[in-house]
Amino acid sequence: MAASDKELEARVDIAAKTGGQRGMPFAWRRAKKQKVVYPPQSPKMWLKTVGWRHLIAIMASIFAIYPVLYIVSSSLSAQDNLSGASLIPKEFSLDSYREFFNPENPNITPFTTWLRNTWIVSLVAASLNVALAAMAAYAFSRFRFKGRRSGLLGLLLVQIFPQFLAFVAILLIMIEIGNVFPAIGLDTLAGLTLVYLGGAIGFNTFLIKGFMDSVPESLDESARVDGAGVGTIYWKIILPLARPALAVIFIISFIGLFGEFLLARTLLSSTDNFTLAVGLQLFTNADYGAKWGLLSASVVIAALPIVLTFLVAQRAIVSGLTGGAVKG
């Protein structure tokens, strides 16, 4: 059924206004809350109804926040070793941060290199991963073709097995590839990126397909009547509407890769190629007690962007994660 131009316009309009989220798995439209005022309570009643609840909540808050405050304060302390660290720094100093960013210091462990490696690999792998998964999801969501059903079933079976479990085989494959093409083989960031790229495609395809299924098919039908090809429909209709979901899946993939350790540890062997997880692990295996301030500063610097992203996009990420995605 071809929709008239007017109808089509109206549909696109609605979809644009709701950010394409109407009835979709990641919907997080805020409902307007009305303030309810309850009658005042006596202190004794207050204790009985909510006082003890606050007590438990505060205790849990301390448990949750204490290590975080501790590490932030260690990073700001003039004291550089673990034994002298305390919750409130005796002497405030930014030395640890200065040391982190100091490229001159020959004794410094290359934290900045590791952090840069981690960001590059995670960004490239996560974006390409989502891009390829979105393309595949489009085909599974919109086309009816022979083998579609078995293709989906295959994806489902493949994504049961976490990629990292096959690390022995991946190591041997990368050795083989590296023998012939050293630029993308063992101990290269490009090789690690390729491995990551394959990792979650099956899983993300599934998530994105579920999302695209909820974009009404009448939209692309109308566009097709107007002469749009499959490519145009993908770029002009499906992708813009799926953008919020893709963003969430991208962030979750990125965070997952940011903390990936097993494969990185297996494949990378030279210090300059380490990701942060591999580098920091080896750093803490050595005598980290004396460099506690530096370690704290790097932890804070590495964690801050992720934590901020998490807090800003809290609702979206949490609904994505509880919907089945896995954070590393």
């Binding site: 309850y38 109804t49 909510v50 609840r53 606050h54 438990i56 849990a60 808050s61 926040i65 290590p67 070793n81 673990l82 660290a85 390829l132 393309m135 595949a136 085909a139 086309f143 009816r144 059903r149 989906l152 489902l156 493949v158 049961i160 976490p162 096959a166 690390f167 022995v168 085989a169 991946i170 041997l172 494959i173 012939v180 093409f181 390729l194 491995v195 790229l197 394959g198 990792g199 495609i201 099956g202 579920g210 002469g227 090809g229 499959v230 145009t232 993908y234 965070i255 903390g259 350790f261 097993l262 997880a277 692990q281 803490t284 370690l295 590495a302 964690a303 992720i306 998490f310 089945g324």
Partner: protein, 544 residues
Amino acid sequence: MVGEPTRRTLNDWDRGFWFRLIGIAVLDALALYATFILIGDGAVLMLISLIIGTVFINWVYLWPRTMALRWITPGLIFMTIFVVLPIFYTVYVSLTNQRTGNLTAKEQTIDFWEAKVHVDPDAEGQLFDLFVYTDDAGEYRFLLANDDGAYFFGQPRLRSEPPVEDAIEGEGTFDAGEEVPPPEFNGFRLMAKREVFALANSLDFKQLVIDTPDGEIVILGLSQGRVVLASQRYVYDAEQDALIDTVENRVCIPGDITATKGNFVCDDGEILIPGWVAFIGAENYTRVATNPLIREAFFRVFVWNMAFALLTVVFTFAMGLTLAIVLHHYRMKGLKFYRSVFIIPYAIPAFLSILVWRGLLNPAFGVVNATLAPLYDLLGMDPIRWLSDPTWAKIAILLVNLWLGFPYMFLLATGALQSIPSDIQEAARTDGASGMRVFWKITFPLLMVALAPLMIGSFAFNFNNFNLIFLLTGGGPPVLGAAVPVGHTDILISFTFNLASASGRGNNFGLAAAITMFIFLIVLVISAFSFRFTKRLEEIYGSL
């Protein structure tokens, strides 16, 4: 109405086609380039895969009726190489003896042994003085001269490297009046003793040889070399499939029991290492089951792995649910604040928090023991060795994982609690049920319906929580006297990792892959279990 578009304007079709054609042309050019490299290296399997892949891509993007595949193929390729292929390759590796010393094909092993030259230590080798030369390009040449003035000038190589053809670049006798060694020779300059010592720091001179047409010059140290005649020690006899040792006059044939499969075993019992990758069937699996030392390690790890995953889910769920219930009250204020605080452990990348916890739990300097110090004094006990005592290390792992994991369960439980309509509970209260009874008989079962699949997911995730174990304790403290490297807090995946990469004891890829298959099996069982709760299968069959 739904289906492949049947009509496209010519214009649209044309543009897409030319666009694809250019892309394919570039890709084919790259593939051709890679083909030459692969042919040069003789990598047959990779060459075949490359050709199949390239033909497939050409077909997909140039054939008119492959619309869906054009969208799927890019992702499919990466998934095939780095997910599907490794799964099957793992199965294959688990059926072989791949480990340190058995990493190559049989032909290469034979080549290795045939390339072994024998230098008789008692041979009439002539001693020469050694002088090191270098040039601006950083190349090295050795000059060997004896008291009679005879000399060799040539290019050294490491014994492990393949022989160099025409390594000798100069040979002759110095005249009586000539300065020995000359400061310049063939465009190379003589290195000072000091420079030679510096070079010796990065280069083991005793591993160096210079190939001569009829033997080699063995470098004995920084200042001496011996010119000797060398001979090939092992000769491969294809008829007997055996290596003949010409020096000790023995025959070495491929071993046929588990321990020697893939190696030549000589008739005096010596096993020649390295050997090759041999197919050993299910022996890696039967070893886990029958070798008492491996079996014991495996079961120790398995039991703790199960307990760890289960207890983690129970503890995090208990804490998360308790907090959700505590906060779930219409008069509660500051919910947003509590929620933000509780989410912080979850927001920090886990590997960073784990490393921090490692510092906090440091027995001597960590803040945990510093805080507990008054308690230790009171009880008169020694400070707890958190990460090095077998029991306390396990407790530490559960504690840290509680910290890492309770926010997730809290978020889940809060969401589930809010989605339970309150009129059910109110109705039960009106009927006279107590608060506890309403919770256990109504709220809790409803919660479990919503949360059970996610708890199974959490179990599956923690079952393979390599980061936590490896970064916090590294699997340690080690179990003393075990046949394979194993620690008290190892879970299967960290145990496997250590088997595959353990320094010192060598890596045993075959055994590691066999244990990986076991983990695959467990993951499969967990997934099958959780499919009962999810509707993913319906997604496939329901939407058609």
